[in-house]
Structures are given as structure tokens and as C-alpha cells.
């Protein structure tokens, strides 16, 4: 199972990274989200994989490592806040700059208006 788990983490990392390198904001946000899944799984697995382990005291002899779980739990919530921040930034950038490219301007030669931002206040 460990090999499959590691494969999935690697695959999700690769997919997330590829999307992060795209030029438009939305795929980048999706990529970051995917990447954060992979990171959370990675961190979580540093406590090793255990099936039917106990997390509540007194349930079983074999306990799952609680420390990575606690860290990943907050990481998930913070990750949501960061995703939200990035996505709102992307929306704001589109409304201010008139396009959704990560550089704030459409690349030249793509047949799209490549004007930079209209100055706001």
C-alpha cells in the first residue's frame, strides 16, 4: 500500500505543479489546491500509515501518531484561507486589470488585448 500511496502523492504533486505553472489565474489556483492536498497527505504520512489504529485513548493498543494529524488539521484550515485569498486576489486582479493572466497583462502575440492595467485611484 505504501508504494501506491507514495505514487498518488507524487502524481498529485506533479499535476498540481504543472497547473501552477500555467499562465491564467484559475488553473494556478486549482494547481495550488491540488498541491496542498499532496502536501497534506505527505505530512500526514510522516506519522506512517496505519489502518484501524486508535486516535482516542483507550480504544486500542496501537495508536496512530497524533502529532502529524494535529499539524495537518490546522494546515488544512490555513490552506483553505490561503486558497481563498489567492482566488479573491485573482478576481480582484481581473476586475482591476481586465484580464486573468498571472502577469497582469495578456501575453503579446496571442491576439488578445495586451494593455496593462487601467490606473485605479
Amino acid at each position: 500500500m505504501e508504494a501506491i500511496f507514495a505514487f498518488c502523492v507524487g502524481l498529485m504533486t506533479a499535476c498540481g505543479l504543472f497547473l501552477t505553472l500555467r499562465g491564467r489565474t484559475f488553473p494556478v489556483v486549482v494547481g495550488i489546491t491540488l498541491l496542498s492536498y499532496a502536501v497534506n497527505l505527505f505530512l500526514f504520512s510522516s506519522g506512517r500509515l496505519l489502518i484501524n489504529g486508535a486516535t482516542i485513548l483507550g480504544q486500542s493498543d496501537q495508536y496512530a501518531d497524533p502529532l502529524p494529524q494535529a499539524l495537518v488539521l490546522t494546515a488544512i484550515v490555513i490552506g483553505f484561507a490561503m486558497t481563498a485569498f489567492v482566488v479573491i486576489l485573482a478576481i480582484r486582479a481581473r476586475s482591476d486589470l481586465g484580464n486573468d493572466h498571472v502577469d497582469g497583462r495578456n501575453p503579446p502575440g496571442a491576439g488578445l488585448p495586451s494593455d496593462r492595467l487601467k490606473e485605479k485611484n
Binding site: 500500500m1 505504501e2 508504494a3 500511496f5 507514495a6 505514487f7 498518488c8 502523492v9 507524487g10 502524481l11 498529485m12 504533486t13 506533479a14 499535476c15 505543479l17 504543472f18 497547473l19 505553472l21 500555467r22 499562465g23 484559475f26 488553473p27 489556483v29 486549482v30 489546491t33 491540488l34 492536498y37 505527505f42 504520512s45 510522516s46 500509515l49 489502518i51 484501524n52 486516535t55 482516542i56 485513548l57 483507550g58 496512530a64 501518531d65 497524533p66 502529532l67 494529524q69 494535529a70 488539521l73 484550515v77 490552506g79 483553505f80 484561507a81 481563498a84 479573491i88 485573482a90 478576481i91 480582484r92 481581473r94 476586475s95 498571472v102 502577469d103 501575453p107 488578445l112 485605479k120
Partner: protein
């Protein structure tokens, strides 16, 4: 503790002139002088202890683990410099009171001056070499401010910039040297450094350290080839020139060499570099000074030359030479400061400093002329004055060294030549200015300066004479302790007498005198000779090189930082790839010894689904809605994976975050294009795919390597103590709210800040509201389907109940503030979706910002509460109570903390989603108060 006051008093004194400026010039000057004077008294109080040879050190630890501390000391060398800095500083304050005109801001000038004084004092009394470097940089900055004090003047600005650049670059070199010394010695403490001389000298990096430290010293002390900045710094007001550029700052480099003399000198490398640089500087400075028509220009080159002389002495390697160096530091400070002040008076009272126009001033200002002549005679090395004594010692030392082997005879000869020029320019200073006929067309009618403007010169010139006649009596002890600190051991026997009998040094002096007089009276020929050479303008060369550097930097930055985020991300990932990949090559076996979990069909199909949906997210990433749906599948399987691998808390969190995230991203799609244009070139796609695949492979490998190895975790501590210490059986929750509660507090704070940031981003957003989707289809008319409304309304109490249950049981069973908060948020969001923002606004009057605020407040107060009982921040407390009906119930302070977490999570999530959501309604929500 009084040692710290030596440094602290002038530092406080920096603001005094700014506050007292309005009470008039004299009051301002006196107030400014008060604190440095007090500091001088404190220094003098330490004199007996220093003379006794006690070590006077005071240390305040700052980060002891890193060896960082605030450490101040007074040894002989520091004592000498502290007296010079404070004593001459006080005289300069008095002098500047009369020198500055009404147009100059006196408060500002004094503030800069005292700031510089503090910095300079900091250099000399620092017992930690890193701390010394900080003050070293402070002198560069404050001298920049002082040189450019008349900043309407372009020369002043340029001179300040040049001084800053040259000394700043030297400062960087010095920092590198200091850090290397610290690394080798293992401490930045001066005592430790000074006792590691052999360690440093035998270290392989010794040549590098010597060169770096000397770069710092040579740039600061204007040694060839870095001497060019000092003449340009003369654009500063004359009190600054007298203080910084003759008595103190330029001596900082000399001080540095003297400070490290016990550990860095004593090798061939040191002798060759230091003595040759000193000799070259001595000759060039003395020769050039003769041709300067500007009084201050002459004095500036003369300073360069005398600094060269001291450097040469420090490079000779004999203990006696070090004594002579220290002696000349004192003498030069005294006579050069007085000469600068005299030059300032002449400038002030005649309106010019050009020696071609000045002459015959003796008639108009005989008193000042007498003072200036005595000081200039001391500079030339005339007997009965202090300059003579140290010059004799210098001559004696040049005769007594052999660093150049059989060419060593050249050093005394060249020293005599240099001194002859020194005599010549001193003669020029006296004769051109005070004699030789009537002055021509002076801008002002010359006359004597105000009484107290002359007082500082009176004092210094008196010192020239007194030290010259009774040297041993006046400064014998001070010189001995200071030189002792330089040599780092016992001093040789020497006598400070005026008369050593007829000997070779006296002959050299006599030769220099006659030679200098001869050169001066035949100067016309020399001037004609010198006029053949085009004068190199260091300013132009400097400007040119600065422009060259700027141009190439700009070109490099244009190439490297082209503004493309994709490129930066790519480069960063590439770097991470190299850093992660290289160590893996050294790892021989990937799989560890831990027994692995057998695979079954359910797991396999889950993994397959995860892999396929990840890939589908990528493949269909242009169709954004579909990509989003695929992403949600990934998220769901991740939460299932958490559930499978014994992490119910994580599964619950992931599941609820997943819901919120997908709703948010769907909302975002409303404001963003529904599809992504195809614009990456095939080669770009191939490149990104390759790097992503390699990276994924590396991460997967690392992950596999980690999870197949046995675990040695610190978690046993948490498992053992969760119940007894934290009063809960859900260890994950106990870690969050108790063991690592401080982390959690930080994290919910970040959450709150992120939400507020998002709120501000949304609040001022220009409306971008599509009326239809990308294919031109209008939005549905049926915005709030009845089915949805009815069902969701019924679900609300149920959902809230579940969330309350999850919250309350969190300490002992899976759940807790984070999860409960997310569940509550989802329940409310559902109402928003089903009924719209306006419907809910009338029914749910919750200010989400206040919810966040109260959440953080509760969590913080819970933490602070433990202080009331005398425990550290966030210590938790719990007890069991028997309640009617319910039975035994646990009350823990952690539950209050968890309530804070809960409120923050609800507030943050809702603030984000509700604010974004209200923009999707046809009527834009009423103009918010933030517009």
C-alpha cells in the same frame, strides 16, 4: 552598568538638540554638550581602573544561544579613543555654535553630529566584534548625513555619496572578515578573539581575513588607492571636517588595525600590505597636498599623508613602532583638528579658502594666525611641539626595520622625503595665508573671530605645546595603556623626552626641514612641472564607474527579472528540484524495513480514482468547471484516505473544507472566464510537464522512503500525557488546544487576518458582473428553487445540532472547534445558496468581523487567564463536575479556547463567502460603508 551609560548618554543626546533648537543657539549648544560631557566624566571615572590594568567590561545577554550580546568595555586603546571622541567632540560643539550661520538648522546639525559621536564611541568601546561592525556602519551613515549637510550644494551631495559608497563597500568587506573571524574563533567576543592569534594566523583562510579586514580599514582611513574620497568629503561644514575627517572617523580604520594588531599582525603578508600601503599613502598625500590651493584641500591631503604614516608604523611589526603609531594618533588628532578649525575661521571671516587670494592675514587676525602657525609647526614636526616627538619616534623606527630586506634603506629615505613635503606644505599654509603682502579682493573685510569660536583652538594648541614639552607627564600613562592594548603584551622600554641627543633621527629631521624649506621656496618650478599633468578628477571617474555598474546591473535585472511570474515559479521549482534531487542520489535503498500494509481491492480502486481524477483535472484544465469537479473528486478521496489511515479528525476536516473550497471556487468562476485560452507553446508544455513529472517523482520517492522506514516519534509524550495533563482522550484535539495551543492561537490569527484581507479586497472591487455565461446563455431566472429552500431550511437546525455535538465531544472523541466551525459555516452557506444574500441579511444579523474578533479575544483571554492563577500563558485546567440530569461532566479551560477557535473559523469562512457571494446577486448589495 555605568559603562553602558557611556554609550547610552550620547545616544539619548541625539534628540536633545532637536528639542532645544527653539531656545536659541547658545542654549541649544549647551544642552547638546551636556550629555556627552557627562559621558566624558564617566569615561574619566574609569581611568584609574584602566591604568591599574583591570578589565572593565559590561555585558547584557541578548540571544545567548547564538552568542549575541551587547557588550561594552574600556581597555587602554578604547579609553584613548573615547577621550579623543568625546573631548574633541565637545570642542567641536562649541566651535560649531559660532561657525553655523542663521540659515543652517542648528538642531539638525548637532543631532547628526551627536549621532556620529555615538557611533564612533560605539566602535571603540564594543567588546563584541559584530556589534563593533554595526557601529562602524553607523559612522558611515552619519558621516553621509554630515557631509551632505548643505544638501543644496551639489558638491556636498556628490562628496557624501562617494564617501558613503567607498566606506560602505569597505564595511561589507569588513563584515565578511568579522564573520570569518567569528567562525574560526567560535565567538565574537573580543577577549576570545584577541587570545586566538595563533589560531587565526595559522588558519588557511588567514590571507582572506587579513585582506577583508584591511579593505575595511583602508577605505575608512583613506589609504591609497581609496584615498580619493577624503578630499571630496571636504564639502562638509568645517566642524565636520575637523571632527570626522581628521580627528575621529578616519582614525576608525587605524583603530581597527590597532584593535586586531595582536591577532592579525606578525606575518609577512601583514607587513608587506600594511607598510607598503602606508608608505605610498604617506608620499602621495604629502606631495599632492602641496599643490592644493584650497586650504581644506591641503589639510585633507595632509591628513591622508599622516594616516599613511600611522599605517606604515602599524605595518612595521615592532612593538616600538606600535607605540609611535598610538602617539601619532593622539598628536595628529590634536594639531589637525585645530588646523581645520583655524581654516574654518579664515573661511568664515574672509569668505574664501583659496590660498591664491589669501595673504597677509597676520595684520588682521594676529591671534588666530599665531595659533594656526603653532599648529602648523607641529604638523611640520618642529621641536618643542608634540608633532616633533612622534615624528622622531617614527624616524627611529624606520631606521630600525628590515621588512624589505636589502631594500630596507629605502623606507627611511622615503620617510624623510615625505616629511620634507610635509614641511613644505606647512610652510605654504603659514606663509601664503598670513604673510606675503596684502590680500586681494576678499569677499569680506577680515577680522578676528568671536572670542569663544577661538577657544577650542586655544585649548588644542596649548595641548600641542604642553605635550610637546612635558610628554611623559601629560600623556605618558595614557599612551602606555593604549599602546599596551595594541601590542597585547609588555611594552619595550622607551622614554618620552624632548632631547635624545644628536642621533640619526634628528639628522633626518634637520634634512626634512631644510629640504622642505627648499622645496617651498622653489615651488614655482614644481608647480610648473605638476601643471603638465592633467589633473585626474576622481569625481568624474567615480561617477563614470557608478554609471557603468548601474547600467550593467539594470541590464542584468531586465534580463533576469522580466516580470513573468511563470518564469520565476519555474526557476524556483528548478532550484528546489536540484536541492531535493541531489541528496536522493546518495540514498542507496529506497524502501525501508517497516512491514508494509497489504493492498486490497477497495484501496486499489480508491487510488485509481484519485490518480484518474488528478490527471483529468490537468487534462481538462481549460474547461474550468469540469476541472473543478474533478478537483472535488480528488479532495473527497483524500478525506477518505484520512479516514482509512486512522485519522478521523482529519477526514472530517478535509471533508468540510472540501465543501467550502469547492463552493468558493464555483463562486469565483462566476467572476472569472469559464475557460482558459490555449496559449502555452508546445515546447513550454513539454518543459513544464517534464519538470512537474520529475518533481512528482522525487516527492513520491521521498515519501516512499519515509513511510517505509520505522518511526521514532516524540508522540509518545502526547499519548502519555493527553489524559493526565490535558484532560481529554482525543489526543489530536488535546494537542491543538493544549500542548500546542500557542501554535493554534497563531494559526487562527492568520486565518482571521486572511479573512480580513479578503474582505478589504472585495470591498473595494470594481464590479465585474457578467450577465451571461461564456456561451451567451443568460443566468437562470429561478434563482432560489423552492425544493432547495424548503429542504435546506429544515436541515439548518439539524446541521447546527450536529456541529454543537461535534464541538462538545471534541476533547474526547473526533471533533473540536475547527470541524464544528466548518460544519456551522456549511449550514449557513447552504441558507445563502438557497435563499440569497438579501433574504438572510434580514434574518441573520451577524457581523462576521466581530465574530472573528470575539473568537480571537476568547482564545487569547483563555490563555491570559492562566496568568491570573500564576501559571504560564495558555496553561489549561480541567475538573469533573457532577451535573444534575447529565451526570459527570468535564469542564476544561481548553473548551473555552476551542470556542475561540470555533468562532474564528465560522467568522472567517463566512466573511469570505458571504462577501463574495453578495456580488453575484443582480442588485449589488447596498453600497457598503467602505466605499
Amino acid at each position: 552598568m555605568s559603562l553602558f551609560w557611556i554609550l547610552l548618554l550620547p545616544l539619548l543626546g541625539t534628540v536633545v538638540p532637536l528639542l532645544t533648537d527653539r531656545f536659541g543657539r547658545t542654549a541649544c549648544a549647551f544642552a547638546t554638550a551636556a550629555l556627552p560631557a557627562l559621558a566624558l566624566v564617566l569615561v574619566l571615572l574609569q581611568v584609574p581602573a584602566v591604568f591599574d590594568g583591570q578589565s572593565v567590561v559590561a555585558t547584557l545577554p541578548w540571544i545567548p544561544l547564538l552568542g549575541l550580546e551587547l557588550s561594552v568595555h574600556l581597555d587602554g586603546l578604547a579609553l584613548l579613543f573615547a577621550i579623543l571622541v568625546l573631548g574633541i567632540g565637545l570642542l567641536i560643539i562649541l566651535y560649531a555654535r559660532y561657525y553655523l550661520s542663521d540659515k543652517d538648522s542648528m538642531g539638525l546639525f548637532y543631532a547628526y553630529l551627536i549621532l556620529f559621536m555615538t557611533a564612533m564611541l560605539g566602535i571603540v568601546v564594543s567588546h563584541n566584534i559584530l556589534q563593533m561592525w554595526v557601529f562602524w556602519e553607523m559612522t558611515s551613515v552619519s558621516s553621509f548625513l554630515l557631509i551632505s549637510f548643505w544638501n543644496h550644494n551639489s558638491d556636498a551631495r556628490k562628496g557624501a555619496r562617494m564617501a558613503m559608497t567607498v566606506t560602505g563597500l569597505g564595511g561589507l568587506a569588513l563584515l565578511a572578515g568579522v564573520i570569518m573571524i567569528g567562525n574560526i574563533v567560535g565567538s565574537y567576543d573580543l577577549t576570545a578573539v584577541l587570545s586566538s592569534g595563533d589560531l587565526l594566523r595559522e588558519h588557511a583562510a588567514y590571507p582572506v581575513i587579513v585582506i577583508l579586514v584591511l579593505l575595511g580599514a583602508f577605505t575608512k582611513s583613506a589609504q591609497f588607492p581609496f584615498h580619493f574620497w577624503l578630499p571630496y568629503a571636504m564639502a562638509a561644514p568645517t566642524p565636520v571636517s575637523a571632527y570626522l575627517h581628521s580627528a575621529t572617523m578616519v582614525k576608525a580604520g587605524i583603530f581597527l588595525m590597532a584593535r586586531f594588531y595582536p591577532v592579525l599582525s606578525g606575518t609577512e603578508l601583514w607587513f608587506v600590505i600594511v607598510s607598503l600601503t602606508g608608505l605610498t599613502t604617506l608620499l602621495i598625500g604629502a606631495y599632492t597636498a602641496l599643490f592644493k590651493h584650497d586650504l581644506k584641500g591641503l589639510l585633507a591631503y595632509s591628513t591622508v599623508s599622516h594616516l599613511g604614516l600611522i599605517t606604515l608604523l602599524l605595518g612595521m611589526g615592532s612593538d616600538m613602532a606600535a607605540v609611535a603609531a598610538v602617539f601619532h594618533i593622539i598628536n595628529h588628532a590634536i594639531f589637525k583638528a585645530s588646523l581645520f578649525m583655524a581654516a574654518g575661521i579664515i573661511d568664515h571671516e574672509t569668505g574664501t579658502r583659496d590660498m591664491r587670494r589669501l595673504s597677509g592675514l597676520w595684520k588682521y587676525m594676529p591671534y588666530t594666525a599665531t595659533l594656526a602657525m603653532v599648529a602648523a609647526a607641529s604638523m611640520a614636526g618642529v621641536p618643542l611641539l608634540n608633532g616633533f616627538l612622534s615624528k622622531e619616534m617614527f624616524f627611529a623606527e624606520t631606521l630600525d626595520q628590515s621588512s624589505l630586506g636589502s631594500l630596507s634603506w629605502m623606507i627611511p629615505v622615503l620617510a624623510t622625503v615625505g616629511t620634507a613635503f610635509s614641511v613644505a606644505y606647512s610652510l605654504r599654509f603659514i606663509h601664503d595665508v598670513f604673510f606675503g603682502g596684502e590680500p586681494e579682493e576678499l569677499p569680506k573685510q577680515p577680522h578676528e573671530p568671536p572670542r569663544y569660536m577661538r577657544l577650542p583652538i586655544d585649548i588644542l594648541v596649548a595641548l600641542c605645546l604642553l605635550v610637546g614639552i612635558w610628554p611623559a607627564l601629560l600623556i605618558g600613562n595614557l599612551l602606555a595603556v593604549a599602546a599596551g592594548a595594541v601590542v597585547g603584551g609588555d611594552l619595550p622600554d622607551y622614554g618620552l623626552y624632548i632631547w635624545h641627543g644628536f642621533n640619526l633621527p634628528l639628522l633626518m629631521s634637520a634634512l626634512a626641514m631644510t629640504g622642505g624649506a627648499y622645496v617651498y621656496f622653489n615651488r614655482e618650478k614644481l608647480f610648473t612641472f605638476q601643471a603638465q599633468f592633467p589633473e585626474a578628477n576622481a569625481n568624474l571617474i567615480f561617477d563614470k564607474s557608478v554609471k557603468w555598474v548601474m547600467k550593467h546591473c539594470a541590464r542584468f535585472i531586465d534580463w533576469f527579472e522580466n516580470g513573468s511570474l511563470q518564469r520565476y515559479a519555474f526557476l524556483l521549482i528548478l532550484l528546489a528540484l536540484v536541492l531535493l534531487g541531489l541528496p536522493l542520489i546518495d540514498l542507496n535503498t529506497t524502501a525501508g524495513l517497516r512491514p508494509q500494509i497489504p493492498v486490497d481491492a477497495v484501496m486499489l480502486s480508491g487510488a485509481a480514482l484519485l490518480a484518474l481524477s488528478s490527471l483529468a483535472t490537468v487534462i481538462w484544465h481549460r474547461k474550468r468547471l469540469i476541472a473543478l469537479l474533478m478537483l472535488s473528486v480528488v479532495g473527497l478521496i483524500v478525506s477518505l484516505a484520512f479516514a482509512l489511515f486512522s485519522a478521523p479528525d482529519l477526514a472530517l476536516t478535509q471533508l468540510s473544507v472540501e465543501v467550502v473550497t469547492i463552493i468558493l471556487l464555483l463562486l469565483a468562476l462566476f467572476f472569472l472566464p469559464q475557460s482558459t485560452p490555449k496559449e502555452s507553446s508546445p515546447s513550454r508544455v513539454a518543459r513544464d510537464l517534464t519538470i512537474a513529472a520529475i518533481f512528482g517523482g522525487i516527492i513520491g520517492t521521498i515519501n516512499y522512503a519515509i513511510i517505509t522506514r520505522p518511526l521514532d516519534s516524540i508522540s509518545d509524550f502526547f499519548l502519555d500525557n493527553a489524559k493526565s495533563g490535558g484532560g481529554g482522550t482525543n489526543v489530536v484535539n488535546v494537542i491543538l488546544v493544549d500542548f500546542r495551543g500557542f501554535d493554534t492561537l497563531g494559526e487562527i490569527t492568520v486565518l482571521g487576518i486572511a479573512a480580513l484581507g479578503i474582505y478589504k479586497l472585495i470591498a473595494r472591487m470594481g464590479l465585474f458582473k457578467p450577465t451571461s455565461d461564456d456561451d451567451g446563455r443568460p443566468w437562470t431566472e429561478d434563482k432560489h428553487p423552492m425544493m432547495l429552500s424548503v429542504i435546506s431550511q429544515g436541515l439548518l437546525p439539524l446541521a447546527l445540532l450536529v456541529s454543537a455535538y461535534i464541538f462538545l465531544r471534541g476533547h474526547n472523541l473526533p471533533g473540536g472547534g475547527f470541524i464544528a466551525g466548518l460544519v456551522t459555516s456549511i449550514a449557513i452557506i447552504q441558507q445563502y445558496i438557497a435563499h440569497g444574500v438579501d433574504w438572510l441579511k434580514d434574518r441573520l444579523k451577524l457581523d462576521y468581523q466581530k465574530v472573528i474578533g470575539s473568537g480571537l479575544l476568547i482564545a487569547t483571554l483563555t490563555g491570559l487567564g492562566s496568568w491570573a492563577f500564576g501559571y504560564p500563558f495558555l496553561t489549561s485546567w480541567y475538573d469533573y463536575w457532577t451535573w444534575p440530569v447529565i451526570g459527570e461532566f468535564e469542564v476544561a479551560s481548553a473548551i473555552a479556547f476551542d470556542l475561540g477557535v470555533y468562532l474564528t473559523v465560522v467568522g472567517a469562512t463566512m466573511l469570505i463567502l458571504a462577501n463574495l457571494g453578495q456580488h453575484t446577486t443582480t442588485e449589488r448589495a447596498r453600497e457598503t460603508e467602505h466605499q
